[in-house]
């Protein structure tokens, strides 16, 4: 066999020859809705997730508009409670959890492994439709008038007192869990059993290590929230009382159950983001990733330690001080692998040939934002400061920095990085870079003031507040609208590129992981023939030549 050169597995003659690709291989709505092609399923996920992101985002803008003035003048307290509940539930269950793995992950995972599809294509499609089915419940809740429990569904409020369609929301979240489990299961099996010849674990792109660690959490943590929500549904319908103190049950047990899932799940949201950044930081600075095994290992160790720290959400719940101290200590432990990643990315940039393009801008934006989000997490992991900061805007700012700033900036990075591969078109770099600044400034203006308001004691989840916080809240609201505008501009230029964008070459970034070796957009079965993995995912051509 001849030595592998770029584009071996794309069209044999010329990569610019128009070829039947996955987008135009079959036509009609049915060919999309019932497709078994992981690429189409990924695209459908992406479109759906972005749609729900818009719904959740508009709810957020409503919340910010209300908080522009100290008085509760735009919505009633009850409406406001429903808005932040639905904002939270939609963003967590419908957007952040599947955001990167189900959309981008589905698209790139088999390609990166040099395979034709994931291990179980029908399960993959089923997982998509289960997602849609679960999402329908949440949408129906919205139409029914919403719920006001907060996305955390704490008992006994959610079981005994809350009005509205709590059972519908719970059922929706319960169903969505199956979708998450099945995607995770599919990915684990695919990575274990279906790698290209020559692709050892240490030759996998770091995105795959991240998706692997994510999938492990999805499979292990999600069933626990499933049984929790299941019990809570019966609590609500039949008042079985396991979580209800008036029946002799234990509400703190609910919190333990809830956070046993809901803490690890923040790593479901953010580990794929780490994977994306590990790819883009290396490809766009034309350097080997620094500390490959350290980054890969830190993904796995975050997934492992992430299961042991849920109690830091419950420092004020009445758990014992010893428990609190242990959870606090272990939480600090997670900072180590996270810092390893951050330092490795920065070391990768060091003396690299950095490309100042949109993808790199968002990559650096992510590193900056996640650094702030991660460091402020340590304040909350410290019991003494958490007593002061618990349930204030400091917490709100912290988890938006890691979840929205982390996951969504990485999702945006991923969309831009793989956009040419997915759509076959290039977007406008100049508009992209300008939009980045708008998004970055808007984002930080939204959430940084919330740290300040939080340390001064502004509590979360109130629709009115004392006037001393007005300046911070107004800055935050202005920032959120700037950020919202930036996202709409992004939507605009991406859609524009679909029709008017320059046709993308098969490998615009000069990356060497296998997904770039096939045609752009990929053919229906990904590769002509069976790819063989002969070099590492970051052995760029110019490095080889220079050596």
């Amino acid at each position: 066999m001849s030595p592998q050169t770029a584009n071996t597995y794309a069209h044999p003659e010329n990569d610019l020859t128009p070829e039947v690709n996955y987008l135009n291989a079959t036509k009609g709505l049915k060919s999309w809705l019932l497709t078994l092609d992981h690429k189409r399923i990924g695209v459908m996920y992406l479109v759906t997730i972005l749609t729900f992101f818009m719904v959740g985002g508009l709810l957020a803008l409503g919340i910010r508009a209300e908080l522009f003035t100290p008085e509760g003048d735009l919505f009633t307290a009850a409406t406001y409670n429903k808005m932040f509940t639905l904002h939270g539930a939609i963003m967590v269950f419908l957007v952040l959890v599947p955001a990167i793995p189900a959309s981008i992950g589905n698209f790139v995972l088999p390609l990166m492994l040099g395979q034709k599809d994931v291990a179980f294509p029908k399960l993959n499609l089923a997982s998509f439709w289960i997602y849609i089915f679960g999402a329908a419940f949440l949408v129906f809740t919205l139409i029914q008038g919403g719920v006001d429990t907060g996305w955390t569904f704490y008992t006994p409020y959610s079981s005994d007192h809350a009005s509205g369609s709590v059972v519908l929301t719970l059922t929706g979240a319960f169903i969505l869990g199956f979708s998450s489990i099945l995607t995770g299961l599919n990915f684990i099996v695919t990575i274990h059993k279906m790698r290209a010849p020559g692709q050892t674990w240490r030759k996998m792109p770091l995105m795959l290590w991240a998706l692997y660690a994510t999938s492990v959490i999805q499979v292990l943590a999600t069933p626990v929230i499933a049984i929790t929500l299941f019990l809570l549904i019966f609590e609500r319908i039949l008042e079985i009382g396991i979580f209800d103190p008036s029946m002799g049950g234990d509400p703190v047990l609910f919190q333990h159950f809830f956070w046993f899932y809901s803490h690890p799940v923040v790593y479901v949201m953010v580990l794929p983001a780490f994977g994306v950044i590990s790819e883009t930081v290396s490809v766009h600075s034309r350097k080997h990733i620094f500390g490959y095994m350290a980054i890969a290992g830190s993904s796995v160790s975050i997934a492992a330690v992430g299961f042991l720290i849920w109690g830091h959400h419950m420092f004020l719940s009445g758990q014992s001080e010893l428990q609190g101290a242990i959870f606090s200590f272990l939480t600090f432990g997670v900072a180590i692998p996270t810092a390893i990643k951050n330092f490795s990315w920065i070391a990768t940039l060091w003396k690299g040939s950095i490309r100042w393009n949109t993808v790199m801008f968002y990559t650096l934006g992510f590193i900056w934002i996640f650094l702030i989000g991660g460091l402020t997490g340590l304040f909350l992991a410290t019991m003494a400061t958490d007593v002061h900061l618990h349930d204030t805007y400091f917490v709100v700012a912290h988890f938006h920095y890691v979840m929205m700033g982390g996951t969504l900036f990485a999702l945006i990075t991923a969309i831009h990085h793989w956009w040419p591969k997915m759509t076959g078109r290039m977007f406008n770099e100049t508009v992209g870079k300008l939009t980045f600044w708008l998004a970055f400034i808007g984002y930080n203006l939204t959430f940084f003031p919330q740290f300040v308001a939080g340390t001064q004691g502004m509590p979360r989840r109130y629709h009115q507040y004392v006037p001393e916080f007005e300046v911070w809240m107004q800055a935050s609201t202005i920032g959120s609208f700037i950020f919202g505008a930036a996202l709409f501009i992004m939507l605009g230029y991406l859609i524009h590129s679909l029709f008017k964008g320059v046709k993308a070459p098969h490998n615009p970034w000069g990356a060497v992981s296998l997904e770039w070796e096939t045609a752009t957009p990929p053919i229906e079965h990904n590769f002509h023939g069976l790819p063989v993995c002969t070099k590492g995912p970051y052995d760029f051509d110019e490095i080889e030549e220079g050596a």
Partner: protein
């Protein structure tokens, strides 16, 4: 070399049970088996929540769990059910073996016996449930057992014991019913001759699932009926 051409030639004698995206049957069977084990892992965590609820509630009300279990759960019925499920696990394992060896004549009857034993289990469960419902031994607010005052109920909390009992056995029973459905589907496929030595992964996986359901009962039985 263009591997595609080699692929086209190999397509002619490709195993009809081999999906297009796998290299060979070994890879496919390996993947399918691993997927099933992962599914069983998540099942364990799902039930893990219920076991945790049991532990937690038992710590809160140790005497209640003892008294209610002794007074209202019949260990003899539990024992019969245990034997039924254990035997069904045996017949399931024999069915898997029959499928692997392509012994069609044994496969369908063995699956049939498994399903019948599962239904017998559910029959006894139904008998137990209706007896408890008749006695008012219901979970939560529907508890109407021995007339205890509201305050007393909170402290003694028999309703919590029955919440735990009904949730644990209910979720387990649901899994038994799903298992019966799967076994029925297998029998239908087997009568068409589709479950044979070239294609037994599905029998294998239903078998694994069935053993897990059995195993969970092995824990439920002593925890609810026997522990003193």
């Amino acid at each position: 070399m263009n591997a595609n051409e080699g692929g086209a030639a190999a397509n002619a004698d490709r195993n009809p049970y081999l999906a297009h995206h796998f290299l060979d049957k070994f890879q496919q069977d390996d993947a399918v088996k691993m997927g099933m084990w992962l599914f069983l892992v998540q099942e364990l965590l799902f039930f893990g929540g219920l076991f945790m609820a049991y532990i937690s509630m038992r710590f809160l009300y140790p005497e209640t769990f003892l008294q209610e279990a002794l007074a209202h759960l019949d260990w003899r019925l539990g024992a019969i059910n245990t034997v039924a499920l254990l035997t069904s696990s045996l017949t399931m394992a024999l069915a898997v073996r029959a499928a692997q060896q392509g012994k069609q004549k044994q496969l369908v009857p063995l699956l049939g016996v498994t399903a019948v034993l599962a239904l017998a289990f559910m029959g006894i469960k139904y008998f137990e449930y209706s007896h408890k419902i008749h006695d008012g031994l219901m979970p939560g607010i529907y508890y109407a057992g021995e007339a205890v005052g509201a305050v007393e109920a909170v402290h003694h909390a028999p309703q919590i014991f029955f919440s735990v009992y009904f949730m644990m056995t209910g979720v387990h029973g649901l899994h038994v019913l799903i298992g019966v459905g799967l076994i029925g589907y297998l029998m239908w496929r087997a009568t068409k001759g589709e479950m044979n030595e070239n294609n037994y992964s599905f029998v294998d996986n239903v078998g694994l699932y069935w053993h897990l359901v059995d195993l969970i009962w092995i824990f439920l039985f002593p925890l609810l009926y026997l522990v003193k």
